[in-house]
Amino acid sequence: MLISTILSEEKPALVAIPVTIAAFAIAPSTLPESIGISLITVLMYTILALSWTMFSGPTGYISLATAGLFGVGVYTTAFLRDSLPLEAVVLLGGAAAFVVALTIGLLTLRIKGVYFILFTFGVAALMRTSVQWWETHINGTVGRHVTAATNETVYLLLLIIFAATLVAAFLLRHASPGLALLGIGENEDAAEHVGVNVTRLKVLTFAASSVLMGMTGAVMATRFRYIDPSIAFNPLISFLPVLMAILGGVSKLYGPMIGAAILVALQEFLITEYPYVYLLIFGLTLVVVVLWLPGGLVELAQKGYFRLKIQWIKLRMRLTRFRRTRQAKRR
C-alpha cells in the first residue's frame, strides 16, 4: 500500500535517489583525485545536513548538537579502532550517539524555541570542554591518534551511510511519523490533541537521526587520523549543516544536498588560503538566507519552475492562435 502511494506520487524521487547514490558511487573513479578527496567532505556534510533535516526540518526545533553527536562517534573510533573491525566500530559509534541523543531528548522534553537551540549548543560545547579538560588533566595529552583507513574504505562507508540516510529520510517523509512531525512543527499542542504522542516521536526521531551522525563521526575519525576535542566537537560541524539545510531548503530532500554541495565547494576553495573569508561568507550567507530566502534554493527553484511553466503555457497559446489564424486565412 505504501509502495503504491509512493509509486504514484513520487516518481521523480524514486528515480533520483538511486541515481544520486549511483552518481556518488562512480564519481571518484571518473574525477581527478583531488576532487575525489573533496567528495569525502561532501558526503560527510551531506549526511549531516540530511540527518539534521530529518528532525529539525519538519519540527522547527533547530538543533546545534550535531557536533556533539558527531564527536561521540569520533571518540568511539578513537578508543575501539584497534580492538574491533571498523564496521563494528562504526555501528557502535552510531549506538553511542543514539544513547547520548536519547539522553538529550529526554532532558529537553519541556524546552522549546530559542531555549532548545541554546541548550543543544550548550550540550555540544559542554562535551567539548569536558573532554578537553579530562584529556588534559587525567590523560595528560589532549589529542589521540587514530589508525588510518584507506580513502576508498572511508568513501565506501560514507556512501553506505549516505544511502541509508537518503532512504530513511525519504521513508520518514512519506509515512505517518513524517506527517506527525510536520504537525508538531506547525502546532505542537494541537498535534498532541489529535493523538500524537509528541514526546515519544520527538525523542525517537532525534535519536534516530543522531545514529547517522555518530556513524559519520566514527568513519571520519579514520580520515582525520589525529583527533582532539576541538576537531571532534568542532562547532562548525553543528553550524554548517544548519546553514546547508536552510540554504538548500528543508521542504525537499534535495535541498540540504544542494546546500551541502555549495558550501563544501566554497570551503574547498577558500579554506586553505582564506579561512576567515570563508567563515565571513558563511555568516553573511546565513543572514541573507534567513532574511530573504526562508524557503531556501528549493523555493527559488519552485518559483522558477512555476514561471517557466507559465511561459511555456503562454507560448503554446500563441502557437495555437497562430495556427488557427493561418487555417482561417486558407479557407
Partner: protein, 242 residues
C-alpha cells in the same frame, strides 16, 4: 451513560484561583452549554479536561474511566476531542492533511495507514461542508471554514464527545445558523457536545442544558429557559440588581 463527570476540580495559577471546586456531568447525546463572563475559568476547565493542564485537585471521568492523569494524546484516542479558542490548526498544511493527521493518530482501533485515509478524510471534510477546499493550505481559508475544519479535525479522532471552545466567535448571522445546524446534526449522529460560548442566541438555541460559571465557580445549572430567568445569572451578566 454519563459521558463526562467532573468532580471537585480546582486549579490555581500561582495565587489566582482559576477553577474552584467545579462539579458537573454531561450525559450521552446531550448538548450542554458552558457560559460565563470572560475569565470565569471556562477555557481553563477545558484545558484540564483535555489534559493540556495538570489537574491539581479533583477528578475527571470520561465514559466511566478516570482520565485525570492522562496525557492529551491519550485522552484524544479515547474519543474525547476539542477545538481551541485561538485557532490551533496546522496552518502550513492543507485542509486534507490536517484531518488526515488526526485520523491516523486519533484512531487506536481502526489504525488508518498513511495511504488508506483518503476516503475517510474526504467524508469528514464533506460533512463539514469544506470539501472543495481540501487541497488548500489552511492559511488561505476564511474564518467560518477554519471553524469547520477544527471540528472536522476533532471528529477525525473518532470522537464520541466534542469540547467546542467558542466556535461561533466572529461569524456572521448566516454562518452562525449553519454552524448551529451542523452541531445539532452531529448530536443526532451520536456525538455528545460541551460548548463554551458567548453568543447567547447560539447557546439558547442549541443547548439542552446550560452551566454558568463565574470566577471559577459553578453558579447555576439548568435548561435554557430557567437560566435566562435566573436572577443570579442575570446580575452576573447584566449587573441587574432587581
Amino acid at each position: 451513560m454519563r459521558m463526562l463527570e467532573v468532580r471537585g476540580v480546582s486549579h490555581r495559577f500561582g495565587g489566582l484561583i482559576a477553577v474552584d471546586d467545579a462539579s458537573f456531568e454531561v450525559g450521552q447525546g446531550e448538548i450542554v452549554g458552558l457560559i460565563g463572563p470572560n475569565g470565569a475559568g471556562k477555557t481553563t476547565l477545558f484545558n484540564l479536561i483535555s489534559g493540556a493542564l495538570r489537574v491539581q485537585d479533583g477528578s475527571i471521568r470520561f465514559k466511566e474511566e478516570d482520565i485525570t492523569e492522562l496525557r492529551p494524546d491519550q485522552i484524544s484516542r479515547r474519543g474525547l476531542a476539542r477545538t481551541f479558542q485561538t485557532s490551533k490548526l496546522f496552518d502550513g498544511m492543507t485542509v486534507f492533511d490536517n484531518v488526515r493527521l488526526a485520523l491516523i493518530y486519533g484512531n487506536p482501533e481502526r489504525r488508518f495507514k498513511y495511504e488508506e485515509a483518503e476516503r475517510e478524510v474526504n467524508q469528514l471534510i464533506a460533512t463539514m461542508g469544506i470539501l472543495s477546499d481540501r487541497n488548500k493550505p489552511v492559511r488561505e481559508l476564511p474564518l467560518a471554514s477554519r471553524r469547520y475544519l477544527e471540528i472536522a479535525r476533532a471528529l477525525a479522532t473518532d470522537a464520541e464527545m466534542l469540547l467546542l471552545d467558542e466556535a461561533m466567535a466572529g461569524l456572521t448571522t448566516a454562518e452562525l445558523q449553519q454552524v448551529m445546524q451542523r452541531i445539532t446534526q452531529l448530536r443526532d449522529r451520536g456525538v455528545t457536545i460541551l460548548i463554551i460560548e458567548h453568543v447567547m442566541e447560539a447557546i439558547l438555541g442549541v443547548c439542552d442544558r446550560i452551566i454558568v460559571f463565574h470566577f471559577g465557580q459553578k453558579i447555576a445549572e439548568g435548561v435554557p429557559a430557567d437560566i435566562a430567568a435566573d436572577p443570579t445569572v442575570r446580575s452576573v451578566y447584566l449587573g441587574d440588581d432587581t
